[in-house]
């Protein structure tokens, strides 16, 4: 069987010992890779080989390996989460590569996402943006009867589509300006599209955008690379909503 023999791939992986250490690409070989392996499982195999030979394994972030947590973060041949669209790195399978392929693997690069080690970056800037307003703090009292506040099916679907953002940071990685506009706008929109989010809608957009700028992400050029790289296909419509809300909130601010 062809699968039993597997593919051999030559990998160029960004290796960096620590946040301040200089990084560089190192060549690694992945041997006996089967098409059913995920990209991360392929790296597991490489790491086992590195550990067996007494070398430092390649550090990379991962958690659920089901495409829902947003932990995996790497740029594969220039593509955040690899060449497939609507796919996280953990759900990217090696059947999309062929024997003898050379693959360049880099961390997400952005000043706001400093490299911790190898392919691991610190994405806590996203947590701080979320902490600046990505929640509802209005006192709503006891739980209401079901359907006391009517939400249309279409509106709830759109809010849910925005809420599917897993905060992986691929949008920042893909953007030529390392802009966080798609992430921030998704977090704003999933509240802005629901009645519960209306009370603090304007303060929220002002505060979260201020935190986004303070984290020194770039501005949005509307290239759409973020949405194309997003594993959950967050729409650019969210960014327009954020821009609109931000202008409105800025004009009305006292």
């Amino acid at each position: 069987m062809a699968e039993a023999k597997g593919m051999n791939l030559s990998l160029k992986i960004w290796r960096q010992a620590g946040p301040q250490a200089p990084g560089s690409f190192l060549e690694h070989q992945a041997k006996g890779v089967t098409p059913d392996m995920s990209f991360l499982e392929m790296l597991d195999v490489v790491n086992e080989e590195l550990i067996r030979s007494g070398k430092q394994p390649v550090e990379f972030d991962h958690d659920c390996r089901e495409g829902i947590c947003g932990a995996c973060s790497m740029v594969i041949n220039g593509n955040p989460h690899g060449p497939q669209q609507a796919t996280t790195t953990c759900q990217l399978h090696m059947r999309h590569f062929k024997d003898g392929d050379a693959i360049v693997i880099e961390p997400f690069r952005a000043r706001a996402f400093p490299i911790v080690k190898d392919l691991v970056v610190d994405r806590s800037a996203f947590d701080r943006i979320q902490g600046a307003g990505g929640y509802i703090s209005a006192n709503t009292g006891a739980a209401q009867d079901a359907n006391a506040i009517l939400v249309g099916k279409k509106e709830s679907d759109r809010a849910f589509a925005s809420a599917t953002c897993i905060g992986c940071g691929a949008c920042v990685a893909a953007c030529k300006n390392a802009s966080a506009a798609l992430f921030v706008s998704a977090k704003l929109s999933h509240l802005a599209l629901l009645p519960q989010g209306q009370v603090e809608r304007e303060e929220r957009v002002v505060n979260m955008v201020a935190q986004m700028d303070a984290e020194r992400f770039g501005a949005c050029t509307n290239t759409g690379a973020c949405s194309a790289s997003c594993p959950v296909e967050i729409s650019l419509e969210n960014i327009a909503r954020m821009n609109r809300d931000y202008a409105k909130a800025s004009l009305k601010r006292r």
């Binding site: 360049v104 802009s179 050029t221």
Partner: protein, 231 residues
Amino acid sequence: MQGLGSSGKCGSCGWIGSSIGRKQLIGITGVGLSLFVLIHMLENMLILVGARPYNEYTHFLTSNPLIYLAEGGLLAIFLLHVIFALAISWTNCKARDSRYAVASNGPKGTSMVQRSLWAQGLLILVFLILHLISFKYGAEYSVDYGPGPIRDMHKLVVEVFHQPAYVVWYVVALIVLGFHLSHGVGSSFQTVGLHHPRYQKCIRALSVSYALIVALGFITEPLYVYFIHRG
């Protein structure tokens, strides 16, 4: 839990200090400049009608006292667009401190046109300065159609556009302006918050056709003068 209003992070910088506010200013001034180039291009088309209407229209524009107000406004819009675009390009450049070794060439990538907007802008700025030197502050020929001597702009234009190097440079610069508009016109809609799934294709088509019309219109003038209007 703290209320949103008490975080205190927002008030200090304001709209114009924010990345979104700056982009909106660039977008709005960009729309103003786009309208200006369209009108300018249509005025240039008078070259196809003849020397007299071309010169009389130039005289009508430059002799109107409101021209100073219009020029001042245009200059202000232009400077705001350029200064804020350069400032934001610099911020964007600094937002990534290490470069990727490989650039995506698939759907996750960014086109060369979108990557080089700042360079296109600088080229257009250089073009504009040379353009003003060549024409607005160029040789002062005069012609008299009856009511008194007026500036013979047509003679100057014909003279300048008979230099092949100038024609090539003009055409290249206007193609670059076309690329700049093909991104900018559509992008300004998104930046001010106008996005709707039903109209996105229309906005994109508008952006590309606007750029094509403006660029081709402008390019018509030097090509017409160089190849057809030999007199």
